[in-house]
């Protein structure tokens, strides 16, 4: 009974945090939080006569009977949504009422992403590019969150957020150039496909190691906070990456150092072949937030309006209050992990089909779709694709630059040695494919 009481109390606190009326309560929350912080910094005068714990590490009450707190795995943090699976708005007061052009842009960007994914996945199968990762099923998480940000907000991603870049205006040509590692690649051909980056669009270049971006995002947010401009940092990662030590580090640092940062977790059910019940035993990622002192919410990632609303509000408050927010967007990875994966080895076709047919972010906006747009998007993608194919690779000189901010003698020596060698054995090297 006491366990249930404790449980409901926690649940209520969680709900209260989620359902706060934003305008007025934000100020009171800030005041409360400031008070709590000051309390932590200026420890109350020690008074052992008072029947209250005096420990510096926690400001709790005493309890006189033994009870363990139960992790809330069955009925956990609820999933916020705006539309039902048929695309009907459920609670009109939660409808963001976005202008028609904006909603149309959402739909166009999601279908453009979907189309690009189909074509580039096939191109890998055909041996044209070495590797690819699709975003099937997660288009809503990308577009909904990207639309809620300002163009100057800094984005740290993992590898399955191409829609964010696409929404910001990264052209098809440059997606292709990176995948083909041709001379137009902004990354100068140095990384595997889908490791996009764009300084102009404030999208930090993707790296393969998982979760490394999470503490980096905290540091960037701290620097952004000190600049005092209206800027936030957003950090995307999957539920698998959230198991890494770097995730723990990033959450803890962002909270203790009060960073204006949005943590956006795409919980898509799988980390390659590892399902969520082998990844964690707690109530997902959102439930970890309160443990770090993070404002946290769980949303329906396949509902682009819910993603938009949550990100928009998190952004507003992160900037206003200099605190991090954790958004766990529940979704489903419809595609394989990558072109190196065949997911039929670990999940049923029926399961995948359910999500593809009955709960898909694009379907939920289907009533805005026109057949003409799908054809046109395919044409656009094919044009960019053919152009990328024909383009030469970057000059092999670029193998040796940018290790340091300027060339250093030992690397220059190795570069010269490579060219001498290649000159001598040129018939064994595919020089014709590269720019001179």
């Amino acid at each position: 009974m006491a366990a249930a009481r404790g449980l409901t109390k926690l649940y209520r606190i969680g709900l209260h945090a989620i359902r706060q009326n934003t305008t007025l309560k934000a100020t009171t929350f800030l005041q409360q939080r400031a008070f709590r912080l000051n309390g932590a910094l200026r420890q109350q005068p020690f008074d052992s006569s008072a029947e209250k714990p005096q420990f510096p590490g926690a400001s709790a009450e005493f309890i006189d009977h033994l009870e363990f707190i139960q992790p809330n795995v069955i009925s956990g943090i609820p999933v916020y949504r705006v539309m039902d699976r048929q695309g009907q708005i459920i609670n009109p007061s939660e409808d963001p009422k976005l202008p028609k052009e904006m909603v149309l842009n959402f739909y166009q960007k999601m279908t453009l992403l979907n189309t690009m994914d189909r074509i580039l996945y096939e191109s890998q199968r055909q041996g044209r590019i070495s590797f690819y990762m699709t975003n099937y099923g997660e288009e809503g998480t990308h577009i909904g969150s990207a639309a809620a940000l300002e163009p100057t907000d800094l984005v740290f991603g993992q590898y399955r957020e191409a829609g964010v870049l696409m929404y910001r205006g990264f052209p098809l040509d440059l997606f292709m150039a990176q995948c083909y590692a041709n001379a137009d690649d902004l990354g100068k051909g140095r990384q595997m496909p889908v490791h996009y980056g764009s300084k102009d669009l404030n999208f930090v270049t993707i790296s393969s190691p998982l979760a490394t971006q999470i503490p980096q995002a905290a540091g960037a947010a701290y620097a952004v906070k000190r600049e005092n401009l209206n800027r936030v940092v957003i950090c995307y990662f999957g539920e698998g990456a959230a198991s890494e030590g770097d995730a723990h580090a990033g959450f803890n640092f962002s909270a203790t150092l009060e960073c204006p940062l949005i943590f956006f977790c795409r919980n898509n059910g799988y980390a390659i072949s590892t399902p969520t019940n082998e990844q964690y035993r707690g109530d997902g990622i959102a439930a970890r937030g309160p443990g770090y002192g993070l404002m946290s919410i769980r949303v329906d990632g396949n509902d682009v309006f819910a993603v938009y609303n949550a990100t928009k509000e998190a952004r507003r408050r992160a900037v206003a209050e200099n605190q991090p927010f954790l958004i766990e967007a529940m979704t489903y990875r419809i595609g394989h992990h990558s072109t190196s994966d065949d997911s039929s080895a670990y999940r049923s076709v029926d399961e995948v089909n359910y999500w593809d047919k009955q709960d898909h972010p694009i379907s939920r906006l289907r009533h805005y779709m026109t057949r003409a747009w799908r054809k046109q998007s395919r044409k656009l993608v094919m044009e960019a694709f053919e152009k990328a194919e024909k383009r030469l690779k970057p000059n092999p000189e670029l193998l040796f630059t940018d290790v340091y901010n300027e060339m250093i003698p030992p690397i220059a020596k190795q570069r010269d040695a490579m060219w001498r060698h290649v000159q001598q054995y040129k018939e064994h090297y595919p020089l014709d494919l590269y720019e001179k």
Binding site: L186, K188, R190, K199, T205, P215, A223, L257, D402
Partner: protein, 367 residues
């Protein structure tokens, strides 16, 4: 009073070792008398940790984006390197982080990438390994992998380094060799206060992520007249401390002082003239100065505390034998730590002391 306070705090963190039997020969720091003129301005007597504070003070004063962070830096740091800086520059610029090295370096990378001069402290070099992935896979490759669109050149990582008499396995390590295998970062080790301030300021200014290892045994023991204003000592330039004709000695950090004594012993007892080189920057290292010296002398001895196998002496040795093969009169000698973890009570037997180095000199001369 302050000295007593410092001394007592130091004793709390570095409890004195009791000896039975043979005493450990005291490590002697030899101040730079030969000091190349690093800066013209006024100087002040400073020990190594004070010279670090001075460099950080100059940096915070001149660069509004500069921030210093790590475990316990707010109150001044366990080695007193950040004393007074929080009061002077504010709690948003000098602050504690949670106890998490991967977080400290990851945070620093992000802050640097977003335009802040980020100075991260790792409490002991022995604890840098949780940050290995962030340093090697992220910091070192940030510029390269992004096609120069992004970089974390504004990141500097500082860590206390090297043996201290009683540090044992986890307070004595010299991990530079793990990182020299990683293009994209710079690694620097000073031998004293004047060098430390100039080299640290160069690392902070350098547009590549740098790791700055500070020999902890010299924090209090090394005292010099250090310029109070900012100055820089160039990176990737080794320094010839003493010219000689018969044998080249190469070291960095504390070991430079050991080899100074060895050079004196060699002259006095063997009539051998040694050329002493402080490498200073370990990566990228100054091959030219070292090779030029070996061409002249024909003999090379490299010494470091870190274990011999895979230690940086191996890299120097390999390059020198490639470049100077026909000039060599004797095999290149490495006098280093043994291939064991750094022991506690056996430290006097473990370290490459002046006698081991002297013996190596004798062998080379008589080869």
């Amino acid at each position: 009073l302050l000295l007593i306070l410092i001394a007592s705090i130091s004793r709390a963190t570095n409890p004195p070792l009791t000896f039975t039997g043979t005493e450990i020969e005291e490590q002697v720091f030899i101040a730079d008398t030969h000091c190349m003129n690093v800066s013209a301005g006024p100087t002040q007597k400073m020990n190594l940790f004070q010279s670090v504070t001075s460099a950080l003070d100059n940096t915070l004063a001149g660069d509004p984006t500069a921030v210093i962070f790590g475990e316990d830096v707010a109150f001044g740091g366990v080695f007193r390197c950040t004393v007074g800086l929080r009061d002077k520059y504010g709690k948003d610029r000098v602050f504690n982080t949670p106890l998490c090295e991967q977080g400290i370096v990851g945070f620093g990378i992000g802050a640097a990438a977003a335009g802040a001069t980020a100075i991260a402290e790792i409490q002991f070099a022995d604890y840098i390994y949780p940050a290995f992935d962030q340093i090697v896979n992220e910091a070192a490759k940030y510029r390269y992998r992004s096609g120069n669109m992004f970089d974390c050149g504004k990141l500097t990582i500082r860590a206390p380094w090297g043996c201290v008499g009683h540090g044992s396995i986890y307070h004595s390590q010299c991990p530079e060799a793990f990182f020299t295998h990683c293009p994209g970062i710079k690694i620097v080790v000073p031998r004293g206060p004047v060098q430390a301030k100039g080299l640290l300021l160069s690392c902070i200014a350098d547009q590549n992520p740098c790791i700055f290892f500070e020999p902890k045994i010299l924090y209090r023991a090394a005292v010099e007249q250090v310029p109070t204003e900012a100055y820089q000592i160039p990176l990737s330039q080794a320094e010839v401390l003493q010219e000689g004709s018969d044998l080249t000695l190469v070291a960095w950090g504390t070991q430079v002082h050991v080899l100074k004594e060895v050079a004196a012993m060699a002259q006095e007892k063997l009539g051998v003239s040694c050329e002493l080189i402080d490498l200073r920057t370990i990566l990228p290292w100054d091959t030219e100065t070292v090779c030029k010296s070996v061409v002249k002398t024909g003999r090379l001895l490299i010494s470091h505390e870190a274990p011999v196998t895979g230690g940086f002496a191996a890299e120097i040795s390999s390059t020198v034998q490639e470049e100077c093969f026909l000039n060599l009169e004797a095999p290149i000698s490495r006098v280093c730590g043994y291939d064991t973890p750094f022991p506690h009570i056996f430290e006097p037997f473990y370290i490459p002391d002046k006698w081991k180095c002297f013996e190596a000199v004798k062998r080379m001369i008589n080869y």
